[in-house]
């Protein structure tokens, strides 16, 4: 098969995503008071309503409606004042009523958009001619969102006796209704995505947004956030859609990217060889790095959708929507811009910190302890903290101050952080106790510099002849001579001063 970049020169990929997100942070299910939990014994959080027992009736969870309205507001959707729940019928034991309660043509949230900033290596997937890129090769892709609707999740089925828990070859199927009735929001994009990287970024941005809203734990691995990708390709310059395939079983950002990449290349190969792409659902196999057919969709399923008569139409008042609006916190993009503007952070650091609400909270706490070391804190938060398990914001602030004062090197910072991880120890104290603090005494350092310069006459000559890079070697020599206690930055400064004389 050809490589993606090559394929995308001749073909345009048209990608749409359907993203299901369980509202895991709620306490109860969508239409009953059962506890929401993934961890309990199977079939312990159930009641007549979520088990679909005759005579039971659904009562909507108001907090779930608040969550979806917040999700809509955060993704620039129009909040529909009036919408309905519908019944979507299909016979399968994972849906206890044999219909799923979902929404019809009008969802709570319609017609939103998210703008993606695509940069770096990922931006190269999109041929330059098809989009306006800046000097660094980055571009902005506006992605329209068709709708976000509210629905309930089905029960979890476990197939026993077959391979990898699949139904094929299984001898029996077990059903855990704990998940049945979990509030689920489904976001459907317009087919505006053009590269696997854009799809990956969209998912990532959506996850960051929902995490910031606090409406879900957004775990792709645990399945609380699930993504189906629809993809078709068409010759560059044409406008008609090709036949699409649907990708299931995507449980990581990398899988999403790689599955789409594989599928685009596969479709191109089929079409270039004169074949036909069939409308089908395909399963991503990460270990074999390929998609395989799950089922062929010959006709559209008839779900016999109609408005659920047990649930009155929703009339969302302006006050309700306004109260949801007030509860939408600062979103990742705005937070990133603030970090750049008011703290002078590097944009990449700022967006990485702003993307995860827990990291952002940690960062903002740390900078209150050491307001002068903000960029250093950002650096430590982005590069060192992820490898730790239980460091505190105060420890990071203290450590960052040392770094900012050039009292320790970055390599030492990593070591110190490992030492204080999980303790209450102050990094300053650890550094002093272990004699790690680097000398910033210029007189003492100057002596070392003189000694090194006297010894390394070859390098001094090279420098004077124009090879300025050789200063790195000389800094190394100084560090060695001072047994690591000298500050490399100061050595660098002093060496340059002396050599330029």
């Amino acid at each position: 098969m050809k490589k993606l970049q090559e394929v995308l020169r001749d073909w345009e990929a048209v990608i749409g995503l359907e993203v299901h997100t369980e509202l895991t942070t709620l306490e109860t299910k969508m239409f009953c008071d059962c506890k929401l939990s993934h961890d309990d014994e199977p079939n312990t959080n159930v009641c007549p309503v979520c088990l679909g027992m005759p005579g039971a009736l659904p009562v909507p969870n108001k907090k779930a409606i608040e969550s979806i309205v917040m999700a809509g507001l955060a993704t620039n959707c129009e909040i529909q004042p009036r919408s309905y729940f519908y019944r979507k019928h299909y016979f399968y034991p994972d849906m206890s009523k044999n219909y799923q309660t979902t929404q019809g043509p009008v969802a709570f949230c319609m017609h939103g958009h998210l703008d993606l900033e695509v940069s770096g290596q990922g931006a190269k997937e999109r041929p330059d001619s098809t989009v306006e890129k800046d000097a660094q090769g980055s571009y902005v892709a506006p992605i329209r969102i068709l709708r976000i609707h509210m629905e309930e999740d089905a029960a979890k089925m476990v197939h026993v006796g077959g391979g990898e828990g699949r139904i094929g070859g299984a001898s029996e199927s077990l059903i855990d209704y704990n998940r049945c009735g979990t509030p689920l929001i489904e976001l459907v994009t317009e087919p505006d995505l053009r590269t696997p990287e854009e799809a990956r970024l969209f998912m990532e941005k959506l996850r960051q947004t929902f995490l910031t809203l606090g409406i879900s734990d957004c775990s792709l691995e645990a399945g609380s956030m699930r993504c189906d990708g629809n993809v078709s390709i068409r010759r560059r310059g044409t406008t008609e859609f090709g036949t699409k395939t649907e990708m299931k079983n995507i449980n990581s950002f990398k899988s999403l990217h790689d599955a789409l990449e594989y599928e685009i290349c596969r479709q191109a190969e089929v079409l270039e060889e004169g074949g036909i792409v069939y409308q089908e659902t395909r399963h991503w196999e990460p270990s074999k790095r390929r998609t395989v057919v799950m089922r062929v969709k010959e006709t559209a399923d008839d779900y016999r959708m109609y408005p659920d008569p047990d649930l009155a139409p929703f009339d969302l008042s302006d006050e309700f929507v306004q109260s949801c609006r007030e509860r939408v916190p600062e979103l990742p993009d705005a937070k990133r811009d603030r970090y750049v503007q008011t703290h002078g952070l590097k944009r990449t650091d700022a967006s990485q910190i702003a993307g995860d609400p827990a990291v952002a909270r940690f960062f903002e706490e740390a900078i209150t302890y050491a307001p002068k070391a903000v960029q250093t804190i950002a650096n430590v938060v982005v590069n060192l903290v992820p490898a730790t398990t239980a460091v505190t914001a105060a420890q990071v602030a203290s450590l960052s101050s040392l770094l900012a004062e050039d009292a320790i090197t970055f390599a030492q910072a990593r070591e110190v952080l490992e030492l204080v991880d999980g303790t209450n120890d102050d990094p300053q104290k650890v550094v002093d106790e272990r004699g790690m603090r680097q000398s910033t005494d210029t007189n003492a350092l100057a002596a070392t510099v003189e000694e090194v310069l006297a010894r390394c006459t070859d390098q001094v000559r090279q420098y004077k002849e124009g090879n300025k890079k050789v200063v790195g070697f000389l800094v190394g020599q100084c560090m060695k001579a001072s047994r690591g206690t000298g500050n490399p930055k100061l050595f660098n400064q002093l060496l340059r001063q002396r050599l330029e004389e």
């Binding site: 007549p48 027992m53 009736l57 019944r87 019928h89 016979f91 016999r304 008569p309 649930l311």
Partner: protein
């Protein structure tokens, strides 16, 4: 001492409060009456003697402890078998649920019990409430107490017959297209379908969720009003999101003069060709009784009423198809043994668990909701629904209630109506009220000459004005009682006084 079938709900509650007799004595008399009369009526699918005696003992203990008794203390009540009551099966008169034990208690049942009522059992019905004669019950027929060769009406036929035969003082039924009012009229008792939302549907096995409404049967308007007080006490049911608060006292204004009230009649309907002469005469009798009390009769029109049956037989089956989808033999109900695949098990469980009418309605619904068909039928049916609702609203600008026939004829003989569409057409006068969601009540107005079968009129009222509706119903009852046509509270002659002596 008195026979239990001669006492009204109020008299029973008052007698127990006063110590004239105990709730246990009432329960025993009731069980005795059922024991003696049930062979002839077959109103019950299950008699819950233990539950009845237990509840009665509690009532007696409360009285002994000096606690306040509920307004229905010790009053024997039966429930249609689509209402859950822990300790009883809820079968919906279907093989599908033949052995289904209630896993919780319906709000309407609970509220009757909270008011002090003694639950005595579950009554027969058309399977899943699909029918107008109780003949589609999977278990047995129920006989009309006034003539046991005739149907009691349906689908709440068991609840109507049990009250008419004096087996219980009160019962609950459910009305999706006339299933309380029509059997009430066939059995000569009062039956109220309250406004949609007035009574919680939680725990009542759904037929048509947007049409279903629970309501009481009694032998007098006052007994029905007392039951309504119990059903709305406690306010809106948070377990039914379509239920609404109805903070009114149904009894308080019952005896107020009806003078000056306006009752609408629809002249074209009075001349309807299917209407029997006797039913028409009954309507005339009710009209005269109302006019005698100073009620003004005004002419109104419901121009879209002719479309009501068509709309109903789109909306009802569509909702039924959906509501009954859960009966698949996986988690509960009939499960076909020995199936190789899930698809086979689901198909055969449904094929053998449901009766003919239940299958007919579900297949109709499955067709009506199918892609391409939905737009042709379901959508126009909803438009008709809006039009009919508007028609009623317009009509109620000029009247407090509308008087209609309840059914075109009195109760027919078993097997007399076998064509389903003919059976459906008999709901002509009741269905539009479910479409609009308003309240309606059937009031006895005498007996048909020759057959001796009960005659009734139907009164319909605006949404959430069910207490006013009962006031008009009481005026009809009061006026009729003044003639020799009918005595309110009458138990069918073949059963009156058989067993049920209060010891």
């Amino acid at each position: 001492m008195a026979n239990i079938d001669q006492l009204s709900a109020r008299q029973i509650a008052a007698g127990i409060a006063a110590g004239d007799f105990s709730a246990t004595e009432v329960a025993r008399a009731t069980l005795d009456a059922i024991d003696v009369r049930e062979d002839g009526v077959q109103a019950f699918l299950q008699v819950s003697a233990d539950l009845a005696l237990e509840a009665a003992a509690k009532t007696d203990a409360r009285r002994a402890a000096g606690e306040e008794l509920g307004p229905l203390a010790g009053v024997p009540v039966a429930f249609k078998d689509n209402m859950h009551l822990i300790g009883t099966r809820t079968t919906c008169a279907s093989r599908m649920l033949e052995n289904y034990e209630s896993t919780f208690t319906a709000t309407c049942v609970q509220r009757m019990i909270c008011a002090g009522a003694t639950p005595v059992g579950k009554t027969n019905m058309d399977e899943f409430a699909f029918g107008s004669s109780t003949e589609s019950s999977a278990f047995h027929r129920t006989n009309n107490p006034w003539d046991t060769s005739r149907v009691p009406g349906g689908s709440s036929g068991g609840s109507a017959a049990a009250v008419a035969a004096g087996e219980v003082t009160l019962s609950l039924g459910s009305d999706t297209g006339g299933s309380i009012r029509q059997p009430a009229s066939f059995c000569g008792v009062v039956g109220l379908k309250p406004t949609y939302g007035a009574v919680s549907r939680y725990g009542v096995v759904a037929f048509g969720s947007s049409l279903d409404q629970v309501g009481p049967f009694g032998r007098s308007v006052e007994d029905v009003a007392l039951a309504m007080n119990a059903l709305v006490a406690g306010g809106r049911d948070t377990l039914d999101s379509t239920s609404q608060e109805l903070p009114v006292d149904f009894v308080a204004q019952l005896e107020d003069s009806a003078e000056g009230m306006r009752v609408g009649i629809i002249p074209a309907l009075m001349e309807h060709e299917g209407l029997s002469a006797e039913v028409r005469a009954g309507l005339g009798r009710a009209r005269a009784a109302l006019e005698d009390q100073g009620v003004q009769i005004v002419e109104v029109d419901l121009p879209n009423m002719a479309s009501a049956i068509a709309a109903y037989y789109v909306i009802g089956p569509s909702e039924a198809f959906s509501n009954l989808a859960r009966f698949d033999g996986v988690r509960f109900g009939y499960q076909e043994p020995g199936c190789a695949t899930l698809a086979e098990q689901t198909a055969l469980s449904r094929a053998h668990g449901f009766g003919a009418e239940a299958k007919r309605r579900q297949m109709l619904g499955a067709y009506l909701l199918a892609a391409g068909v939905y737009d042709k039928y379901y959508y126009p049916a909803q438009q008709v629904r809006t039009l009919i609702t508007q028609d009623y609203r317009n009509a109620y600008q000029s009247c407090d209630a509308i008087m209609l026939p309840c059914a075109p004829t009195t109760a027919w003989r078993f097997g007399e109506v076998s064509d389903p569409t003919q059976m459906y057409a008999s709901d002509l006068f009741t269905i539009s009220n479910n479409i609009a969601g308003n309240g309606g009540v059937s009031v006895p107005v005498g007996r048909e000459e020759g057959t001796g079968m009960p005659l009734a009129v139907q009164l319909q009222g605006p949404a959430f004005a069910d207490h006013t509706l009962l006031r008009v119903a009481r005026a009809v009852e009061r006026g009729i009682a003044g003639t020799d046509a009918f005595v309110p509270g009458t138990v069918a002659p073949a059963f009156v006084g058989k067993g049920g002596e209060l010891a």
